[in-house]
Symmetry: C2
Subunit: 217 residues, 2 copies
DNA sequence: TCTTTAATTCATCATTTGATGAGTATGGTA
DNA sequence: TACCATACTCATCAAATGATGAATTAAAGA
């Protein structure tokens, strides 16, 4: 019979499981609404391990974010331009491929950003996610503006907003709403969504590809 | 000197102030994250009054939602068609005019819908907001589909999704993001946003107004 | 005026929360 | 083998939370 107490035999993935549980739970509920006991239960682990590995609940939160965002950041920072397509379709595909590995993250980020700005989780998130925002903004700007095809009269900032709305909303919308649209956001569906969004933006924000620039005001 | 305890002289708006506090706080934090003491402090009122007027914290939540959504529902239910324009601009203007009175509501709704679906606040919200969703869907369907101008190849459900993304995202996006776009969502700005969104959808989803229908497949 | 009802404060309770320290067993190393 | 760091469990604490009932005062009605 195995001992209840003391170090368990063999290897264990308690730490990993806590990180996974944190992503799962913080992805769907706000920081304060998730209890350490819940996290431990979800991970199948004693609650005191949170302190052991991460110092505190906030420590677990921070470490989880770090491990989720780091790969994303590395990919965005590398940006040898070549790897970052400058056409809308390529932009959206790359974007979704960066986000796809952890579908809980967008909801988590948006929820935390909405919490009172003075709060600790907010500061932690901003430290890590601020750079993601900045790099994305830069990249998006390149695609939208440098293409030189924005329809005259279309404010660049509003174009950014539209792009973000079309891309982000489906990722953060509550399931009840998503279901109402008769769609599901699994990998199968993504290409369809991307194609649709590209169409909307191509015709909605840009001049026809072959348009003569001299027709501008 | 006024007595600390007992019924206060003259009229008081304690009940009203609690409702207002509830909208303000539940608008920015999740249900469990807002304490009765916080609500009371925000309203400048003793916490026991929550029980007195609403039975419980959940009762206050429900009553607040009821009072916020009822006017909205009445307006949507009336729908003498005439009052509900069938052009995109009119649709968006009416929509925003319905939402404008309480800018906290969209965030609140989306947050509650995202919380675990088994929860009490969720059920309460769905009872009231379900009808809002259904009526909006109906109305939107009329405008999008019955116009007969959807570009061929554009899935109606995706058109709905795009519309909702463009309309709702700006209302629920965290302030940090909104600021990043260099815009603010006050009344001054709404017309600009509406005009932009109409443009995007007109050109992105619809056939040119004067298009000859015979060019369709 | 007397009595009942309405509106409020206050002290307090059981429960849940995050954190903590003491204790226990395993693994690697000298 | 002796030893110490590693990986865990468990009981428990102080703080915060929602709820509650008793007490207090004002207003309204008879």
């Amino acid at each position: 019979m195995s001992a209840k107490t003391g170090r368990p035999k063999g290897d264990s993935d308690a730490r990993q499981r806590l990180i996974a549980a944190a992503l799962a739970l913080f992805g769907n509920q706000s920081f304060n609404n998730v209890s350490t006991r819940q996290l431990a239960r979800e991970a199948g682990v004693d609650a005191a391990l949170i302190r052991y590995y991460f110092g505190s609940k906030l420590g677990l939160f921070e470490q989880m974010l770090r491990e989720m965002l780091e790969p994303m950041l590395e990919r965005l920072r590398a940006q040898p331009q070549a790897a970052f397509p400058s056409d809308l379709t390529g932009l959206m595909q790359t974007y979704y491929s960066i986000m796809a590995p952890n579908p809980n993250l967008p909801r988590l980020v948006v929820r935390v950003l909405q919490e009172d700005e003075g709060t600790e989780p907010f500061r932690i998130l901003m430290t890590l996610f601020g750079e993601v925002m900045a790099l994305s903004r830069q990249w998006l700007g390149k695609v939208l503006l440098n293409s030189g095809r924005l329809r005259p009269g279309v404010e660049p900032e509003l174009a950014r907003l539209s792009f973000t709305s079309l891309m982000v909303f489906p990722l953060i919308a509550p399931q009840v709403l998503i279901r109402q649209f008769g769609i599901s956001l699994d990998a199968d569906f993504l290409p369809t969504l991307i194609q649709h969004n590209v169409q909307v933006m191509e015709k909605g924000l840009f001049l026809p590809e072959d348009a003569d620039m001299r027709t501008l005001s």
